[in-house]
Symmetry: C2
Subunit: 202 residues, 2 copies
Amino acid sequence: MARLSFRQQMLQAREDAIVSAVNRLLAEKGFEAMTVDEVAADVGIAKASLYKHFPSKEELAAAAMVRVLNRARAYLDSDAVRLLPRAAERLRAVVRWTLQVQLAGEMPALPSQNSTLRSALLQHREYLDRLNEVSERLGELIVQAQRDGDLNPALPPEVVLYTLYARACDPVPPLLKSTGQYDDERIVEMVLSTCFDGLNAR
Amino acid sequence: MARLSFRQQMLQAREDAIVSAVNRLLAEKGFEAMTVDEVAADVGIAKASLYKHFPSKEELAAAAMVRVLNRARAYLDSDAVRLLPRAAERLRAVVRWTLQVQLAGEMPALPSQNSTLRSALLQHREYLDRLNEVSERLGELIVQAQRDGDLNPALPPEVVLYTLYARACDPVPPLLKSTGQYDDERIVEMVLSTCFDGLNAR
DNA sequence: GTCTATAAGAGGATAGAC
DNA sequence: GTCTATCCTCTTATAGAC
């Protein structure tokens, strides 16, 4: 943690505010529907000023993705996860966390299909590095949980990993929330159940 | 089946071709990224001609959704499903079918977030009717499978229904396909396993 | 680095001839 | 119903003053 000058702190705060706005808008309407004008209006600055901080709309989205990946890594490193005895429990805790983030409207959504954003992200060093870090840690947990006999060993770890990532942007939690029939906690537990225990009776 | 005049048959064939193109493009890049110019180019007609058949981009997408819902209903009514003895097996067959359609690049993808398309579809009679029909039948299967002790009875049928719909546009199958490590059949079986049996060991 | 103003272009939709 | 040509709005991005 290098100490920052006052100017640098102001800069940092401003960029944090920008990334927060981007994060919220990505969660709410997705990349294509989000406009740079909205971001600027949300932050309360002129659009041209935005472009002094981030050179393109894609870079804005990438910054939001990097931040959420950093949050994920921080959660993986937290005691709330590390102190859980079994790898399977740690995985379940991480998925619970992603569902909570999603229900809080703070999970930036990427287009799953091909798009300008996808190709931009695939060339974005920092994003790819963070993604690799998180994937690496999750991968270790997956392999360990399979060794422990808790996770289905017939599934390639890669398939499990993709499935977990997919739950982070699953349409089901927001849909259930929109019905107003269940509170967040109930939704989280039901989705965790369908994810880890499946739809079939046990 | 009313007999159609030659002119009407030509009209029908043209509109089928349009809907096919829309379907393919929706599956490939989604509603926002699909342009009406592309659709016209794909069909091989002028954009203005397209607008003689469908009054808006939203109506194009709705037509594709209606068609896939009709295909789903036809599959539900087919012997391949009806002759299966247990409701749970019929459900599994339907999900298998949706995964195959998706892997074939024929599953039109809706934006899960709020958008112009969502609000348009929510006012589209035919779409809503077809969606209700399919949901009704799936709902009956779900309740029956729970009675049979095959599906987890602790999950509200509605939650199961949403979860099944979500699998139809899950990012995991295309992702696995893109790695080139698994053939379609293998992907289908793995995703079916994670869906019905869960990630945990049994 | 912030602003106002504007360029540049994509994309949905339409006019009007045939 | 099909075409060419065009309109018009929205959106990304930049110019240039302060």
